[in-house]
Symmetry: C2
DNA sequence: CGGCAATTTGAAAACGTTTTCAATTAAATC
DNA sequence: GATTTAATTGAAAACGTTTTCAAATTGCCG
C-alpha cells in the first residue's frame, strides 16, 4: 500500500554487489570496473531506482539546495533576480527554496533560521535594510550568504550590485545639465542603505558639483509602491520640481501616470528617470528612461559566486560591481 | 574548525534525559512532564540547539517542503500565484522549492523528478500543456500534485482555476453586444488546453449565440509575449477586427501600445479585453479592461488544497473553480 | 610463475533524527 | 498500604545514503 520505495540496498542485492559499489556508480565515481558499472546500471534501470536525496543529504552533509530570501517575488525587480539565480542554480545542479520576507526584519530572521535548519548549502539574500540583529544571525552561521542587489557596508558578506552612487549621480547631472534647477529625489525607505547611503549620496554629489544647494523638501521618502506614486503629483508640483530621479520602476510608473492624469506633460513639463529597467519601463507610455541594471545577471552572478563559496574555491572579488547603463526613452527630453 | 553542530544527543546528555524525550519536547508532544520539559528547554536554549531538518526528514519521511513548478516567475501572473502559494505554505510551516520550467516539457519532467528525489511532500504545478509523458510521470508517484491556474482534462489531478469558458464567453458577448462584428481572439499557444479547449470554446460559444460565423482568420495564436503583441496591429487591421479578446496581460499591453503607436485609438477604434488582471492592467494607459481572476487566491487555495491532500484529509471538491469577475477599465467602451 | 603494485570491491560505521515498545514511575482506587 | 492503571521515560531500531579502511582481485614484470 505504502509507496514502496526501492533503496540502494535493493539494487545492491539484485546486482549482487555491495551498497558501496552502487553508491559509486550512482555518483559517477571512476573506481568501478566497466562491467560492474553496466550490471548495476541495468538493475537501476530495471528497478527504476531513484536515490533519496534526503538520505544523501544526511550522509554527505550537502543538500544541493540553496535558500533565497526575497522581499516579494511579485516585484519585477526581484523576480528578475530570482530568475537569474534559479537558472544558474539549475546549471550547477542546485535547487532553490524561495521565501518572501516582505522586507520584514523579523520574518527575515525567522526564515533564515528555518533555511539553516533545512541545511541549505548556501543563501542568496535580497533586501536592503539589514538590521544589527540580522547581521548577527548572518555571522552566526558558517553557511555562505551572498547579497544580491543589496548593500550592507557594516557587514562583510559578499555581494553583487551596480555602482548606485555613480549611476544616480550621472543621471541627476544629466537632468541638471538639461536645465532642471529643481530635481526631486523620490525613493523607497531611506533607512535602506541602498537609498539612504548610496543613491542619495549620488544625488547630493550631482547637486554639489552643479553648485546647487541641497533642499530636503525635494526628497520624497515613500514605500516604493505604484499607488503611492500616483498620489505624488501635487506634492511634487508644490515644491516646484521639474524632474524626478526615482528609485523604483513601479513607483516611477505611478508618478508618471499621476502626472499624465493631472495633465502635466511628461517629459515636456516634468522629466522622470527611474532606476531598475524592468520590462515595465517599456510597457508604459511614455516609455521611461532608466538606469539600466543587468537584473538577471545580478542574480546569476550572485548564484555563481555562491557556488564558489560553497566549494571553497577562491573568489577574486568579494563585492562585485556589475556595469550599469543609462537608457534614454521617452520620459526625458 | 568545522561547523561543530550540536545534536539532539548533546542536549539529551546535558539534560540527563534520553534522546527520545528531547525529541518529544522539540515536537511538542504532550506526554512529557512539565518539569522535564522545562529542563530540556533550558538546555536547548543554553546550547542553542537547532534540529537538523534533513535528519528529521529521513526519520519521519516528511520534509515539510513542497515543490512548485512554474513556467517563469518573471511573469506577473505566475509570480502572483507563487506568492499566494508561499504565503499559505508558510502558514502551514512548509517551504517551497521554486523551479522555472519555461513551459518546456522535458524540463518539467526533469524537474519533477528531482523534486521527487528530494522527497517533497507535495507539488503545485503550473503550466498548461500537459503532455502524455508528463501525465504518466504524474501518475507514477504517490506524492500529491495540484494544478494551479492550469487545466488538464485528460488527467485526474486536483486543480484550482476559474471558469475560463464562461468568463471569455461573457466578455466576448459584451464586445459583440456593443456592436463589434469582428472580434479577434488573441491567445497563447493553442495546444495549451486553457487556450485551445477552454477560452477558445467560450469565444466560439459567444459567437454562436450571437449568430456570427466563426472565422479562423480572427484567431491569432502567439507566444504570449509583450513584444509579439506590439507587432500585431497590422494583422489585426488587415482582418478588419474592431476588438480583441486577449489571453495574457503582457500580450494585451503590447497590442494596445502597438495600436496607440499606429494611431489607432483605444477604445474608440479598437477595444481590448485581457484575461489575467495583473497589476499591469492599471499601469498602462489606457488602463485595460480585464477578466478578473483572484490570482493570489488561486495560489493560496491550491496550496491549501495540497495541505489537505498531504494530510490525507478529505477534500470536498477536487477541482475547484474560484469566482471570476469582469473589470471595466478604459480599453473598452 | 612468483611477487608487488594498482585497481576493485565490501563491511560497517557514520549522519541526526523519529518512533516503537517495553520499562519505570507516579497517581488513583479501595 | 497494596493493587491497578495511567503517565513518563529510555533503549534501540529504523530511515537510505556516503565514506573509510581493509580485503580481495587483477595486472604487470622479470
Amino acid at each position: 500500500m505504502d509507496k514502496q520505495t526501492i533503496t540502494i540496498y535493493d539494487v545492491a542485492r539484485e546486482a549482487s554487489v555491495s551498497m558501496a559499489t552502487v553508491s559509486r556508480v550512482v555518483n559517477g565515481n571512476a573506481n568501478v570496473k566497466p562491467a560492474t558499472r553496466k550490471k548495476v546500471l541495468d538493475v537501476i534501470e530495471k528497478l527504476d531506482y531513484r536515490p533519496n536525496a534526503v538520505a544523501r543529504g544526511l550522509a554527505s552533509k550537502k543538500t544541493t539546495t540553496v535558500g533565497v530570501i526575497v522581499p516579494d517575488v511579485t516585484n519585477m525587480y526581484f523576480a528578475s533576480l530570482a530568475r537569474g539565480i534559479d537558472d544558474v542554480a539549475t546549471m550547477y545542479k542546485y535547487n532553490i527554496i524561495l521565501t518572501n520576507s516582505d522586507s520584514n526584519s523579523e520574518k527575515e530572521i525567522k526564515v533564515l533560521n528555518t533555511l539553516l535548519s533545512k541545511q541549505v548549502d548556501g543563501i542568496v539574500f535580497m533586501g536592503n535594510e539589514i538590521t544589527e540583529k540580522l547581521r548577527e544571525e548572518f555571522k552566526r552561521t558558517k553557511t555562505p550568504i551572498v547579497l544580491a542587489g543589496s548593500v550592507d557596508d557594516e557587514g562583510d558578506n559578499p555581494s553583487v550590485n551596480i555602482d548606485y552612487v555613480a549611476a544616480v549621480q550621472e543621471e541627476v547631472k544629466n537632468l541638471i545639465d538639461r536645465g532642471n534647477k529643481r530635481v526631486a529625489f523620490v525613493c523607497g525607505p531611506l533607512d535602506q542603505a541602498i537609498n539612504g547611503k548610496y543613491r542619495l549620496k549620488g544625488y547630493k554629489q550631482a547637486l554639489k558639483s552643479a553648485g546647487i544647494a541641497y533642499d530636503d523638501k525635494l526628497v520624497f521618502e515613500t514605500d516604493d509602491t505604484y499607488k503611492t506614486g500616483t498620489l505624488l503629483q501635487p506634492a511634487l508640483m508644490a515644491v516646484n520640481a521639474t524632474a524626478a530621479m526615482v528609485t523604483d520602476d513601479e513607483l516611477a510608473a505611478g508618478i508618471m501616470n499621476g502626472m499624465s492624469d493631472a495633465d502635466v506633460k511628461v517629459p515636456e513639463q516634468f522629466e522622470i528617470i527611474t532606476s531598475n529597467d524592468t520590462k515595465l519601463t517599456e510597457m508604459v507610455r511614455p516609455k521611461m528612461s532608466s538606469i539600466t541594471q543587468p537584473l538577471y545577471d545580478i542574480g546569476a552572478v550572485s548564484m555563481r559566486l555562491l557556488t564558489k563559496l560553497m566549494n571553497n574555491e577562491p573568489v577574486d572579488e568579494k563585492n562585485v560591481l556589475l556595469p550599469y547603463g543609462l537608457m534614454k526613452r521617452e520620459s526625458t527630453k
